[in-house]
């Protein structure tokens, strides 16, 4: 298809000018922007940016949460042939320095005072920043920094320019080609500087189309945009597919109101990483435990019914007359109200991706009638590589290759992808591009996995992380840290896990408890605690976690490939791993190497058999100040099991 994002916008604006394009909740009311309004705003903004000096091929950063005017900014930049780069709104100032300098950014459009302050703070390191436009003027009245102006002023100036040069905007849109660079996304990266992933209009629109056709999306979908726009997933769902399908994107009032807004909007097409689904489920379960006996009894009874029949029904298979009857009853009394409460009454297609999802969690949503599925993709592939078809969703696979995608597995187990949605390259980083993109067009995902008998892709771990146990009883056994970590994380009491074992004689893990879940568990047992650190070190909590670890070991012992990855020792960390402290990436993935260095004392204690270890750690608060947390941590052994294969 030979189109660009601005052309898609103009198409919707001319075909259905009054249809809603975006809604934003403001002052307690959902305010609608129609396609015609959107097109007008984009045109004015483009004129304003042109007047301010934005040129073809130049980069512009957009920093903020999901706001209609920030999305309009991306369209305005693309209309002029400039390249928008959305950056994570919760990234600290210094984290923005590299992308800004790497892409030689002169123009920034940001949401509010917080983001303005961030850019002003790093302006010395990025002297090329000439213009900062902000959406929300609150608190910015007194600022008189050079180049700082509101979007309001930009739009007003643009409107004047547009009346003087009525043909300018369309002329600029006409100049663009579908193979021009459309947008750039910085990947958080677990090591080194972030890399700018360059995508053309075509690669993004092509994948948006593939996803839309796969799930038969129409212009009648409602989507809630609540994840960072800098993340390609959100960008695909609330930008590329929005413009391709012409559906309505709803922007929540604030980060704190997302669950309320979700209920009000009732999206039909929904996306969330596993942790969001888990959070929703945890809050439901905790509230259910506090409900009256009758309600609780009914809930548990019908959830058992759902577990028995729900997934089968979701797969489109027959569940018999009794099953149908009980399920219908449950649907009336429990599942329907529950879906409504979760804001999922109207969900037709829901996706989760980014991380492995626990089988219990996955089947919970499917059993209550939410069509939750998994997909596989990354920033480099413009998301859609594999998708699960309706009726074929499994917790342990990520679906079948979608239109236009070819997949093959390399000799080392790495998955290679060929697709029209592949990146053009990494910005100013040919070496990195050459590493992942071969001359014959295969992209190296660096994920290890295989296609199962039904043609579904199954992911095990990152190729570089798959290691071997060295010495000890399991010498030479395969060790897949993420696989072990995920298995542990599927327990509601465990929030984060870091596993070590490569080139060592046994597997040891460091665990973060889930403060809400374990806190609640402790309160129910009248177990007093003074805070996170105290709770984490309670012997009872160690007992609870030990049970989880041993269940995982029992499970692993049945796995032919990974029986050697059973966990011998563990400890519970005294503080939550945090992206602000560099322990997690901005997308909440553990940075194993960095953590090993930072908590060197703990890792060696795990391996030298100590029962206690003192540790002091620096922590960074949200406002940039630092402090330190110290504690003496206990270390605990866990029972391992003889592999099932060997015992026989």
């Amino acid at each position: 298809m030979q189109t660009t994002f601005p052309r898609l916008l103009l198409k919707h604006a001319s075909e259905r000018p009054d249809a809603p394009a975006m809604r934003e909740k403001e002052y307690g009311i959902w305010q609608t922007t129609s396609w015609a309004d959107m097109a007008k705003m984009v045109a004015h903004m483009a004129c304003g940016l042109h007047q301010a000096g934005l040129t073809r091929g130049e980069h512009l950063v957009v920093i903020g949460s999901n706001r209609p005017r920030l999305y309009a900014t991306m369209l305005a930049a693309q209309s002029l042939g400039a390249i928008p780069i959305p950056l994570y709104q919760d990234a600290a100032g210094p984290e923005c320095v590299f992308p800004l300098n790497n892409a030689e950014v002169r123009f920034a459009v940001v949401e509010d005072q917080e983001q303005v302050d961030k850019l002003l703070e790093i302006r010395e390191q990025c002297p090329q920043i000439a213009h900062i436009f902000f959406d929300d003027p609150r608190g910015l009245r007194k600022y008189d920094e050079p180049g700082l102006a509101s979007l309001e002023e930009l739009l007003a100036a643009g409107e004047v320019f547009a009346t003087q040069h009525p043909d300018f905007y369309l002329g600029e849109v006409e100049k663009a080609h579908t193979d021009d660079v459309g947008a750039m996304f910085f990947t958080s990266g677990t090591t080194g500087n972030p890399k700018g992933v360059v995508h053309t209009h075509n690669s993004l629109i092509n994948r948006a189309e593939a996803g839309a056709l796969f799930d038969k999306l129409t212009s009648h979908e409602d989507v809630l945009a609540y994840l960072p726009p800098a993340w390609i997933g959100q960008n695909i769902f609330s930008y590329a597919q929005w413009l391709y399908c012409g559906y309505v994107v709803n922007c929540p009032e604030s980060a704190a109101t997302v669950t309320i807004d979700l209920k009000e909007v009732g999206p039909t097409y929904y996306f969330a990483p596993p942790r969001v689904f888990e959070g929703l489920l945890t809050s439901v379960m905790i509230r259910m435990e506090d409900a009256g006996a009758i309600k609780r009894g009914m809930f548990h009874y019908f959830m058992d019914v759902a577990r028995k029949y729900g997934p089968t029904k979701m797969d489109g298979k027959s569940i018999g007359l009794v099953g149908e009857f009980l399920y219908a009853l449950g649907n009336f009394f429990v599942y329907g109200p529950l879906r409504n409460n979760l804001g999922m009454s109207r969900v037709r297609v829901a996706y989760t991706a980014g991380e492995a999802i626990g089988p219990d969690l996955f089947s919970f949503y499917r059993s209550i009638g939410v069509n939750l599925k998994q997909l596989y993709g990354s920033t480099e592939t413009a998301v859609f590589v594999c998708l699960q078809p309706d009726h074929e969703a499994r917790a342990d696979t990520v679906g079948v290759p979608c239109a236009g995608v070819e997949i093959k597995v390399a000799d080392n187990g790495e998955i290679l992808v060929k697709s029209p949605g592949l990146l053009k390259g990494y910005y100013k980083n040919d070496a990195a591009t050459a590493e992942v993109l071969t001359a014959d067009g295969w992209y190296h995902t660096s994920d290890a996995g295989f296609l199962d008998a039904h043609g579904h892709l199954k992911i095990i771990d990152r190729v570089k992380d798959v290691g071997r146990i060295k010495g000890g009883a399991n010498d030479g056994a395969m060790f897949a840290p993420k696989y072990v970590e995920n298995k542990l994380k599927f327990f509601p009491h465990i929030k984060e896990v870091v596993a070590y074992g490569d080139q060592r004689e046994k597997v040891c893990v460091m665990i973060n408890i889930d403060f809400d879940a374990v806190g609640n568990w402790a309160e129910r047992r009248n177990l007093p605690y003074a805070g996170y650190t105290d709770l984490a070190q309670k012997p009872e909590v160690y007992g609870l976690i030990k049970e989880c670890v041993e269940k995982v070991n029992a499970d692993l012992s049945a796995d032919e490939l990974l029986a050697g990855s059973q966990v011998s020792r563990f400890l519970v960390l005294h503080k939550e791993l945090d992206a602000d402290d560099g322990e997690l990436t901005r997308t909440n993935k553990v940075r194993r190497g960095y953590i090993a260095e930072k908590y060197e004392a703990l890792v060696s204690a795990l391996y030298n058999g100590a029962t206690e270890q003192f540790i002091e750690t620096q922590v960074k608060f949200e406002d940039g100040r630092t402090g330190s947390v110290s504690a003496t941590l206990k270390l605990s052994d866990a029972k391992t099991f003889t592999p099932v294969g060997k015992a026989a």
Partner: protein
């Protein structure tokens, strides 16, 4: 920083307040200029809240006068004070715990409603349009104070720091010219205090509201005030910019104690 501080808006002259034989305030004089942040500080029992209560009309001073916008009063009447555009928040919160955040803030609009109880109850005549207009004002305050997520939550269920914010919201609903804040940061943690400071400065900045606040936390006061009055045992012992007050011998001895 280009804040324009105007003329004297509130002038307190020679105020004394006695409860029987106890002298709560003795001959206090100070003034407040338009658009400034004016703090009243002092140790426990110094008479800070009594001072605010005199301005607010809760107490009638035994001597002295208060001039607001050129009109001089020997005592203030609470209702009249509110109508003139002076709103306040309370040290120990005075919210309707069972009512939602929205409704609590809506009560702050009461003085500005013209339709009577009967019309409001039945939503007839101008009552409906009026309610919508007031609701919009209240929504703007909710947005301003970033409490959208708690719009429908009963106030009693909110943590203390948020209740304080609702209290501020209700005072703002009056669209006051002068806002009296009684220990807005008492009992808050560092983060809540920072938030509250930002809101106070934003109110001052965005709406040009003059602010008179009582505060215990010296750090906070020195950071956000333009001028500070210091009371001790019902007497004024210092008055000036934060720097002047910080270096005032009497103030130092009142706060840190001296060797006699």
């Amino acid at each position: 920083m280009s804040k324009k501080i105007g003329d004297v808006i509130l002038d307190v002259k020679n105020i004394s307040l006695r409860f029987g034989g106890v002298k709560a305030l003795t001959d206090i004089s100070f003034n407040v200029r338009e658009h400034e942040v004016r703090a009243i500080i002092g140790p426990n029992g110094a008479g800070k809240s009594s001072m605010l209560n005199c301005i607010n009309g809760v107490y009638t001073p035994s001597e002295g006068s208060i001039t607001f916008r050129g009109e001089t009063f020997s005592h203030m009447d609470s209702h009249q004070v509110a109508t003139m555009g002076i709103a306040r928040t309370f040290q120990n919160l005075a919210l309707f715990k069972g009512m939602s955040v929205l409704d609590n803030i809506m009560t702050g609009r009461n003085l500005r409603m013209k339709s009577n109880l009967f019309m409001q109850a039945l939503r007839i005549g101008p009552a409906e349009n009026e309610e919508m207009a007031h609701r919009e004002k209240v929504e703007r305050i909710i947005d301003f104070l970033e409490i959208q997520a708690f719009r429908k939550t009963p106030v009693g269920q909110l943590p203390y720091g948020l209740q304080k914010r609702v209290d501020l919201g209700r005072a703002l609903a009056l669209e006051p010219q002068v806002l009296l804040l009684d220990e807005p940061m008492a009992g808050m943690n560092v983060e809540e205090k920072q938030d509250m400071c930002r809101f106070i400065l934003d109110v001052n900045d965005e709406f040009g509201t003059t602010i008179v606040l009582i505060e215990h936390d010296m750090g906070v006061v020195m950071d956000i005030s333009d001028r500070v009055v210091v009371l001790d045992y019902g007497k004024k012992i210092g008055d000036g910019t934060p720097d002047e007050v910080r270096n005032n011998e009497e103030v130092i001895s009142a706060y840190l104690g001296t060797s006699h």
